[in-house]
């Protein structure tokens, strides 16, 4: 909010600090000053009033009070000398009725007869202009000026155009034309000021045309009311209408402020527009707001801020803010009365904040906490997350962070049924409509974009996916890695499988195997995956993820012009299976013997089956079996597999005879399978 330095100065007889210095003080003790600008012989300060201080500081008086508290310079409020004419009684001129006292907790009004509408004096016009308000006439300008000064929105009506005043909810179908000639449709959720029949103003927001002040106006009624902030907020949103008045009301205001502001307005008007003020004031204020009293524990004050402040200092600070110290109990406790305009102060902690900030946060000396030495607990999930990320990084993968959302189109492409997806009620764009069920769609989008610049891409992401459950939304962390390669590199599947194995082995997970995927008819999986090149990743019998190439047809849909393979792992399952322990196995002092076996098998035979047979038949002296060649060019139906078999014992050098014996056992075992033929 913009504040004029000269206007602020008018509240003080003594000189305020220079504008730059004042801004500095405000920043340190009260509010951020976002900008300063020189305007003629004045400075404009853009003060970012904290939202809980709107009630008292969306006003010059509030900021002036802050200045007074910070600088110690005495605040002087100009007084207006209002003369009332005893022969004119306000009750004879107007009746006011308030329908709901909760929504309008106070309604005050005064009447002035015989005023003269004309342009405002120059000083007033200038002050309004410096605050961004356009001068209209002396009546309207005076009301705006007192609002700026006190923070209380005020309104004036031409009394000759009104019979009575009612504060009530609008009825559906009612309409109002505002002072600036805009039409608004009203309903029950909007509070209005009405004549016998017609709306005169949208309460707390904007005045209407029908009782507008114009050059003919002679008698005016001045209104200062307090409206419920929630009601004004809702109405302002509904009508999409924000005004200087609504801004102040929707943060809440002190009901005691109306009278103060109303009298000032009457006084000012008499000065600049003449006329005779009727005696008295309409004041519908059934439940008076009294000042709050708060007990302040002095040792708690010291403990919470962490300073050794004396009672004397505390009292001085409280008084500088116009808080009253009602009583004092042996330097232990104060009873403090808070001015009603300080809506933000209701707890001891609120008082402590006032004390702390005016003591000066910069004067608080930093002290490291002294506390029981409790070592932090390791976050297991994060530990494994870090581990996984490091392994993948070392394996050449870069980490992606994607938005957690998908568009409907994206989900349809991936055949995720939309009905099962948690949906955002108010998405900013179509891309942010659904919470993502899988990290794959966005990662594939990353691939598509990066292929413009790279021939080979390896990326991964570890993050949450979402799905609807009966009661809420389930969150599931997934680890998804993608590789893509332009050109015809042999079998991306195997390359990524190697990475998956490397990762799982590094996590201490050894009993992993890859099971051929048997798609069920309703599964969407089968549509994005290459039907012949995908597998379920299992630990024991439990599926922990999926590995496969993306189907060429689907890649076309995504406009990806390179092969892509993906693995998608359940992070929770990984974390549960992962083992930190690692045990050393002594290196045998005795030499190893290596024998090779080549075997002719049908093309559909699985290597894992051959390996299993070799290991079982070979027994514990077979240390390792390596596949070193797979040759498919032999015939239409057969392929040749070649293995190195490493024999070794821990306690002796194996003799050729021993090794021959085991090798023969293996050959015999392999040849028991029909169509498997060991080549000799």
């Amino acid at each position: 909010m913009i504040f004029s330095y000269n206007f602020l100065q008018s509240f003080f007889k003594e000189k305020l600090p220079q504008p730059q210095k004042l801004a500095d003080l405000l920043i340190r003790y009260s509010f951020e000053v976002e900008k300063m600008e020189k305007r003629g012989n004045d400075w404009l300060l853009d003060i970012d009033v904290l939202s809980n201080r709107a009630a008292d500081c969306f006003s010059y008086l509030g900021i002036a009070r802050e200045c007074a508290a910070i600088t110690g310079i005495k605040l002087t409020i100009k007084k207006y000398n209002l003369v009332e004419d005893k022969t004119i009684k306000i009750k004879d001129l107007i009746t006011v009725e308030v329908e709901d006292k909760k929504i309008c907790s106070r309604y005050t009004a005064k009447v002035i007869k015989g005023i003269k509408v004309k342009p405002s004096p120059k000083w007033l016009q200038q002050r309004l202009e410096s605050c961004g308000l356009r001068p209209i006439n002396n009546i309207v300008d005076a009301a705006n000026y007192i609002m700026l000064e006190t923070g209380q929105p005020l309104h004036t009506f031409d009394l000759d155009k009104i019979e009575s005043i009612a504060v009530r909810q609008a009825v559906k179908g009612e309409k109002i034309v505002s002072l600036d000639n805009e039409k608004y449709d009203l309903d029950e959720s909007i509070l209005i000021i009405a004549d016998k029949e017609n709306p005169l103003a949208i309460a707390g927001i904007k005045g209407g045309k029908s009782a507008e002040i114009n050059s003919e106006t002679k008698t005016i009624i001045l209104e200062a009311a307090n409206f419920d902030y929630q009601s004004i907020r809702a109405a302002s949103r509904k009508l999409k209408l924000k005004t200087d008045a609504s801004l102040r009301f929707e943060h809440g205001l002190d009901p005691n402020l109306t009278e103060f502001a109303l009298k000032r307005l009457a006084g000012l008007l008499q000065e600049i527009a003449g006329g005779k003020a009727a005696k008295g004031m309409i004041d519908l204020y059934p439940q008076k707001t009294l000042p709050k009293r708060i007990k302040l524990d002095l040792s708690y004050t010291q403990k919470l801020i962490g300073i050794d402040i004396t009672v004397k200092e505390i009292i001085k600070i409280l008084k500088s803010l116009e808080f009253k110290v009602i009583s004092q109990n042996q330097n232990k406790e104060l009873l403090v009365e808070v001015p009603t305009y300080r809506l933000d102060v209701s707890l001891p902690e609120d008082l402590i904040e006032e004390i702390g900030r005016l003591y000066g946060y910069e004067n608080i000396e930093a002290v490291l906490p002294t506390t029981v030495l409790i070592p932090p607990k390791r976050n297991e999930e994060l530990f494994w997350e870090n581990n996984i990320k490091d392994i993948l990084k070392e394996a050449g993968f870069s980490e992606a962070y994607n938005y957690s959302f998908n568009s409907a189109e994206q989900l349809r492409n991936f055949q995720f049924p939309l009905a099962k997806r948690p949906e955002v009620k108010n998405p900013m764009s179509a891309e942010q409509k659904y919470l993502t069920p899988s990290l794959i769609p966005n990662l594939l989008k990353n691939i598509e974009k990066n292929l413009d610049y790279f021939n080979e891409i390896k990326i991964f992401e570890l993050g949450k996916t979402f799905s609807k459950t009966a009661a809420a939304v389930a969150e599931k962390k997934m680890l998804t890695a993608v590789i893509s390669q332009k050109g015809s590199k042999p079998e991306l599947f195997y390359e990524l499988k190697g990475i998956a194995d490397l990762l799982l082995n590094n996590l201490g997970i050894t009993d992993v195997w890859y099971d051929e995927h048997q798609p069920t008819p309703e599964e969407s999986k089968s549509n994005i995956w290459h039907s012949r090149k995908c597998a379920e990743i299992k630990i024991g019998n439990k599926e922990i993820g999926f590995l496969g190439e993306i189907s060429p047809v689907f890649l076309d849909i995504l406009k990806i012009k390179a092969k892509v393979a993906v693995f998608d792992l359940d992070f929770q399952a990984l974390k549960e299976a992962a083992l930190e322990e690692c045990e050393y196995r002594p290196i045998s002092r005795f030499p190893a013997t290596i024998r090779d076996i080549a075997i002719l098998v049908p093309k559909t035979a699985k290597i894992i089956d051959v390996l299993n047979k070799i290991n079982i038949a070979g027994g514990e002296l077979v240390r390792d079996v390596d596949v070193f060649d797979v040759y498919e060019g032999i015939s239409e139906t057969k392929k040749n597999l070649a293995f190195h078999i490493v024999y070794q014992a821990d306690d002796r050098t194996l003799t050729a005879k021993e090794v021959d014996q085991i090798q023969n056992n293996i050959i015999t075992a392999l040849e028991k399978t029909p169509e498997w033929e060991v080549r000799k």
């Binding site: 809980n52 002290v367 609807k468």
Partner: protein, 340 residues
């Protein structure tokens, strides 16, 4: 005979000495030590010698054979060394030429600095805790002293879900409540995490970003303690002493509330374009945990007090790496990611 042997030895030794190729040495070896070599011949002819000198000549001959073998070997390895040195001199590489690099991957910059922050707080005894990203109104707002229809809620533009009064958490603060519900103080946690705001994006705003939240609750934890902890954090994070300034701030879940400024890293506090000539950069919001928040989490505010703070991880990373657009974090352009 012995004299002849002496001559033979000298002759052979001289030949080895002057030999200048391995082939020549081979020839010498053959000539003296081969099947038909001179020394071999002598050994063969021992049987023709008188018994008296047979032993002596035999011994001497064998000694010469051994001697010669050693000499030839020595000479051979000397020559090999010379050869290799010569070979080496013929080679040359351009040390300025680029070398192939092993293909390491890259962690996301947010991960790199998130870890750094976590480690700093970890060493100060803070446990790292994560929380849900989909929350309900109670945890995201009410429990944090942000009542329904209160203007304070306007500060958090919220993305709501269609079902079940759920929302995407607008800050990491709900984790404070969850954690305090499950753990008795004293407690010290930091909470990194993804948060969401319902707002338009530009170079410095995104609708999905990352926060790091901290909470310390104990019998007597003060604003002075907070100041010390946070100064230590910034010192370690930026690896040099920095000044920290607390200003009045308002966040419904703390009282008193602070805005935390740090002396500008670029100009050292003198004022530059980065800090808009103020010498300070706004880093985080903080304060002393509001008694209503403690109550909402089931703790008695008479027994416990503490501080909480929260900062934008993205902003911190942008500052540290001089990144000028927050949206780069979710672009996943490898030309960006590979720089970290």
């Amino acid at each position: 005979m012995l004299k002849d042997l002496k001559e033979l030895k000298d002759k052979a030794q001289e030949e080895v000495k002057t030999a200048n190729s391995s082939r020549e040495l081979e020839r010498i070896s053959k000539e003296y030590l081969g099947k038909k070599g001179e020394l071999t011949q002598i050994l063969h002819s021992l049987k023709d010698l008188p018994k008296t000198s047979r032993a002596e000549v035999g011994k001497e001959t064998n000694e010469i054979i051994e001697f010669l073998k050693t000499e030839i070997e020595k000479k051979l390895s000397e020559m090999e060394e010379v050869d290799k040195k010569e070979e080496e001199q013929k080679e040359w590489i351009d040390v300025s030429a680029p070398a192939p690099k092993p293909n390491l991957g890259h962690l996301h910059p947010l991960t790199i600095l998130k870890r750094k922050i976590e480690n700093i707080f970890n060493t100060m005894g803070f446990t790292i805790v994560e929380g849900r990203e989909v929350e309900n109104e109670w945890y995201n707002f009410d429990a944090l002293n942000i009542p329904k229809n209160h203007p304070a809620r306007d500060a958090w533009d919220t993305s709501w879900l269609k079902d079940g009064n759920l929302l995407l958490r607008t800050h990491t603060s709900p984790v404070q409540i969850h954690y305090m519900e499950e753990h008795q103080p004293p407690l010290r946690i930091v909470v990194p995490g993804k948060v969401f705001r319902h707002e338009a994006t530009d170079a410095s705003h995104d609708f999905q970003f990352y926060q790091i939240e901290g909470l310390m609750v104990d019998k007597e934890i003060s604003a002075a303690n907070f100041k010390a902890v946070i100064e230590e954090f910034f010192r370690q994070f930026f690896d040099k002493p920095v000044k920290v300034r607390l200003r009045p701030g308002f966040f419904p879940f703390v009282e008193p509330g602070f805005e935390i400024d740090m002396s500008c890293m670029v100009c050292g506090g003198k004022g530059c374009s980065t800090c808009q000539k103020t010498g300070w950069i706004e880093m985080m919001g903080a304060g002393m945990v509001h008694p209503n928040v403690l109550k909402a989490a089931g703790l008695n505010p008479k027994n416990w007090q503490g501080f909480a703070f929260g900062m934008g991880l993205d902003r911190l990373v942008m500052m540290k790496y001089k990144i000028n657009d927050i949206r780069l974090f979710h672009g996943n352009d490898l030309r960006f990611l590979k720089q970290f």
